[in-house]
């Protein structure tokens, strides 16, 4: 993980530039603007966790910013607490508020977080206004720049504090996002179901992301109070929240540069929108750019006339509009709204994303979307003992009287399943017989209507999918559920998530423990890929793999969980005959390492060839069970598969 030489030069010159800026632009007005940009950038880096990485929308970040500001302000105003106390307190208080919001709001899918945070924003403003005894109400709080050892900082000196904290934030955020936590955030957005089944609880990690984000909003808020030396309730309005979101998406999500660029834009925007002359020039510039870009796109046949019509009309229209009006202040919000619409539809990856795609067209090798992981695996690192040792005697899994009711349909009707430790247990049945429902009930995706499941001596039928996965049940999916945007090896690394013990602090400080864990996991992941024959494709995005390889990748990812029970849902679908032979060998090796397997499969020769026991489902009921040969000759099974009843033989 060493930095390349060019990157080092860039970072050092960037830091030097940051340090020199106040000397190049000593005007206090500009220094203040740069401080505000730095503060907003810290908040936006945090907001990116929620909006960019886990894909939720927060409409409460201005309020969290306000909570941080008021925590620092009130502690300083009421108790005279110093900077070194107020800032950590602001971070902590905002994080707690973030937790209180996220815990209930993220329990359900849908726009709930947006709705709850919107309400929170309003309430915070009301509370700040009303709780006069604490916050001084609408009058606001006046305070001074921080002092250190009796020396009160001036704005120039405060600039360095903010920039140092911004650089620190960038480093910390970058380390978190490049770690196993960042991988979890990306995975849960890509396929929530698969994340849960890899013991990466979607709910828990969304809450983590929101709390980290809230903590950074608190940090930014506390820095803001010291910068402005005055706070009042109406600063932290809904409008500010929307500005933050616009800044983030305009700059570019899922980058470190995007939030900084976004912060520069929204801090400068009011100045642009206050000066009609400047606004006209910018509108004209945008229109000119749109005309040139559309012409280029049309000429190279990259864009269709339909695609360019609306943005072209918009930018030209904006330019004409800017010359028609004499005073801009009345239309500021309309322009702001149009800007949001434009960015949402035409710059969804922001300016940084747009630049990146331009560079990619010219120099594809310059743009790297994933870190190349070049570790070579070997045969001895494929296997690891399960996290929870198998202690039960006899059957590893006992399902008793399972019923799964969907409205009027009984997908499972009083099914018992006994899976012997160390066996391969085949589960067959015609389409719609309840096999996949069974898989989903066993892994906790559906909660059974009745009945119970005991696994390794523990009742798991009321547990969440991620807890069940944590107990040692891994699975593959009938309709492949990979993390498509992640590379093959990253997919397996998500499966190895449970092997990481590093705390947030370890990740921030990049301790030896965190480096060792990452190294071990990569070695393991490479070995697992080698085991399923995908070593050559380690750095390919999962969505680009052919269907058959995707299925094999799912097996590698499932094995990464160190399961004691592996559920394979139609692993041979889409495989060629030689591939199927290899798959059979693979399943035998898996069993050879003590992992019990439940196998759903339509290729009868595969099931009958490797299963120790076969259960047959039909219309949600178990109609037969036994050794493959017994089941094959069972009259009920033949009828279920071929239809019948008409030619019933006399007993």
């Amino acid at each position: 993980m060493s930095m390349s030489a060019t990157k080092k030069v860039l970072v050092i010159s960037g830091l030097a530039g940051l340090a020199m800026l106040p000397h190049l632009w000593p005007n206090p007005y500009y220094v203040h603007l740069m401080v505000v940009i730095g503060i907003y950038a810290i908040l936006l880096l945090g907001l990116d966790f929620v909006v960019g990485y886990v894909g939720e929308v927060s409409l409460g970040h201005a309020a969290l910013f306000g909570v941080g500001a008021y925590t620092a302000g009130v502690l300083n105003f009421q108790l005279g607490a110093p900077f070194v106390l107020t800032v950590p307190a602001a971070i902590a208080v905002s994080a707690v508020f973030g937790l209180i919001l996220a815990l209930p709001a993220l329990r359900v899918n849908g726009p709930y977080l947006a709705m709850v945070t919107l309400a929170f924003g309003t309430i915070v403003q009301i509370l700040i206004n009303e709780m006069t005894f604490l916050t001084n109400g609408p009058m606001g709080i006046t305070m001074d720049k921080p002092s250190f050892f009796g020396h009160r900082l001036n704005s120039g000196e405060y600039y360095y504090i903010v920039m140092a904290l911004l650089v620190l934030t960038i480093v910390v955020v970058h380390r978190i996002l490049k770690s196993y936590l960042g991988r979890a955030f990306e995975a849960l957005r890509d396929s929530p179901v698969a994340s849960d089944c890899m013991a990466v609880s979607v709910y828990r990690y969304k809450v983590y992301a929101f709390v980290i984000s809230a903590a950074l909003a608190g940090l930014a808020g506390s820095l803001f109070v010291y910068s402005e030396e005055y706070i009042s309730p109406d600063t932290y309005s809904f409008h500010l929240t929307i500005q933050f979101l616009l800044a983030l998406i305009m700059g570019g999500r899922k980058t470190r540069s995007g939030p900084i660029l976004g912060a520069i834009i929204i801090v400068m925007l009011p100045n642009v929108l206050a000066d009609i002359g400047l606004f006209r020039q910018i509108a004209l510039g945008l229109a000119a750019f749109a005309v040139v870009y559309s012409a280029y796109g049309l000429a190279r046949k990259r864009l269709s006339p339909r695609q360019v019509a609306i943005p072209l009309a918009f930018t030209v229209g904006l330019s004409v509009f800017s010359h028609r009006i004499s005073d801009i202040t009345d239309y500021r919000l309309t322009i702001f709204g149009l800007l949001i619409l434009f960015v949402v539809y035409y710059l969804p990856d922001g300016i940084m994303g747009f630049l990146r795609s331009l560079v990619q067209q010219v120099r594809p090798q310059w743009v790297r979307r994933h870190e190349w992981i070049l570790d070579k695996g070997d045969a001895e690192h494929v296997w690891a003992p399960p996290d929870h040792a198998v202690t039960v005697k006899g059957n590893l899994l006992e399902a008793r009287g399972l019923v799964m009711q969907f409205g009027g349909l009984r997908a499972l009707d009083m099914v018992d399943l006994h899976v012997a430790k160390g066996s391969v247990h085949g589960l067959i049945g015609p389409n719609g017989s309840g096999k996949s429902t069974m898989m989903n009930v066993l892994t906790g995706i559906y909660r059974p209507t009745a009945g119970e499941i005991e696994f390794n001596g523990k009742i798991i039928s009321a547990c969440t999918p991620s807890d069940i996965a944590g107990e040692g049940i891994a699975r593959t999916f009938q309709n492949v559920q990979l993390f498509g945007e992640l590379t093959a090896i990253e997919n397996v690394l998500v499966g190895l998530h449970h092997t990481y013990r590093s705390s947030l602090l370890d990740l921030m400080l990049h301790t030896r423990r965190s480096r060792r864990e990452e190294h071990e996991a990569r070695m393991r992941a490479a070995s697992l890929l080698k085991f399923v024959g995908l070593a050559e494709l380690a750095n390919e995005e999962a969505k680009n793999l052919p269907y058959g390889k995707q299925r094999l990748l799912e097996i590698a990812r499932a094995l990464a969980l160190n399961p004691s029970l592996l559920l394979l849902d139609e692993p041979a679908a889409g495989l060629t005959a030689p591939d199927i032979k290899e798959l059979v060998g693979m399943i035998q090796k898996i069993r050879g390492h003590g992992i019990t397997v439940i196998l759903i499969e339509h290729h009868m020769d595969v099931v009958m060839g490797i299963s120790d026991t076969v259960s047959v489902l039909d219309f949600g009921q178990k109609i037969a069970e036994g050794k493959p040969a017994e089941v094959q000759s069972d009259q009920k099974v033949i009828e279920a598969y071929l239809g019948g009843g008409a030619e019933q033989q006399p007993a």
């Binding site: 209180i100 359900v108 709850v116 919107l118 949402v344 539809y345």
Partner: protein, 290 residues
């Protein structure tokens, strides 16, 4: 006792307004799993357009025109802000785009009608009367009755007419409805039109009580969010009960604690309900098939 009964009366009236707006959220959420974050602005536009019209015509003639205006406005919101986002499966897209349109509508309204709160003529007499010991203003009764009628009319339409069946089919399974030859895009546009129409109607109803102005929508739209979550985003009874709970909680808080704090119980209830029963008090938990 006298005070309490009055509080109940006004609580029920304001609660019914929340219920109608929340009902509008349910309509679009059912068909497309999206909501109009500018619903409050649809309400505000309805009230202000109604105010401009009522100077030139009879109050009862103004109502259908406002509702038509609301329907068109809703269709525009769907076409501009929601459909492209549904196509690209972007939750961020429709949330931000409907907010952006809301901001634009509000700014346009400020430029047309100004920043002041304008009085809205009441179609019924202003003298309070007493029913069962509860003091009510006739306008409050009209709000309650109008809101209930509006919801009833939409429900009847959905249950009885063939267009309503298309609506229900799309709500229960978008893809299957599409395969059965239902133009689901049109149904979604239609649900937005219905939703904004109910909001515009609610705006005209509530304006004589609250005054009309560009700012009036934001808070109402927000409260209706709380009601929709408390009652359940898929329960018709839920929004009515949720609206009543919130309306009464607010008026009593305003009287017994402080007007400043009257919006606080809404959020607390919202968080409590989500923590205890995320689908809402009356919502059905839907099992998501994998």
């Amino acid at each position: 006792m006298d005070v309490l009964s009055q509080l109940l009366g006004s609580g029920v009236a304001v609660g019914m307004i929340y219920a109608v707006i929340a009902f509008g959220y349910q309509l679009t959420f059912a068909t497309s799993r999206t909501l109009n974050f500018g619903q409050g602005e649809a309400l505000m536009l309805g009230a202000l357009v109604g105010l401009s019209l009522v100077g030139h015509m009879n109050y009862w003639l103004m109502l259908p025109i406002v509702m038509l205006f609301g329907a068109v406005q809703g269709a525009v919101v769907e076409r501009v802000a929601v459909r492209p986002a549904i196509k690209s499966k972007s939750e961020f897209g429709w949330i931000m785009a409907t907010i952006a349109l809301g901001i634009i509508f509000k700014n346009v309204a400020e430029n047309i009608w100004g920043h002041d709160q304008l009085p809205f003529p009441s179609p019924v007499s202003q003298t309070p009367f007493t029913v069962l010991g509860v003091h009510m203003v006739p306008m409050q009764v009209m709000v309650i009755g109008g809101a209930l009628l509006m919801m009833l009319a939409v429900e009847l339409f959905n249950r009885r007419s063939i267009y309503g069946k298309a609506f229900v089919a799309t709500a229960s399974d978008l893809d299957a409805a599409g395969l059965m030859g239902i133009n689901t895009n049109l149904v979604i546009t239609f649900s937005y039109a219905l939703s904004s129409m109910t909001a515009a109607f609610a705006g005209v109803l509530v304006a004589p009580i609250t005054l009309a102005g560009a700012e009036m929508g934001a808070v109402l739209g927000l409260k209706a969010f709380a009601v929709a979550i408390i009652g359940g985003l898929n329960s018709g009874v839920g929004v009515i009960v949720g609206g009543l709970i919130l309306g009464i909680a607010e008026t009593t808080t305003a009287y017994y604690i402080s007007t400043g704090y009257k919006d606080v119980p809404g959020l607390v209830l919202l968080l409590l309900v989500l923590a205890v029963k995320p689908a809402g008090l009356f919502g059905k938990t839907v099992i998501k098939k994998v």
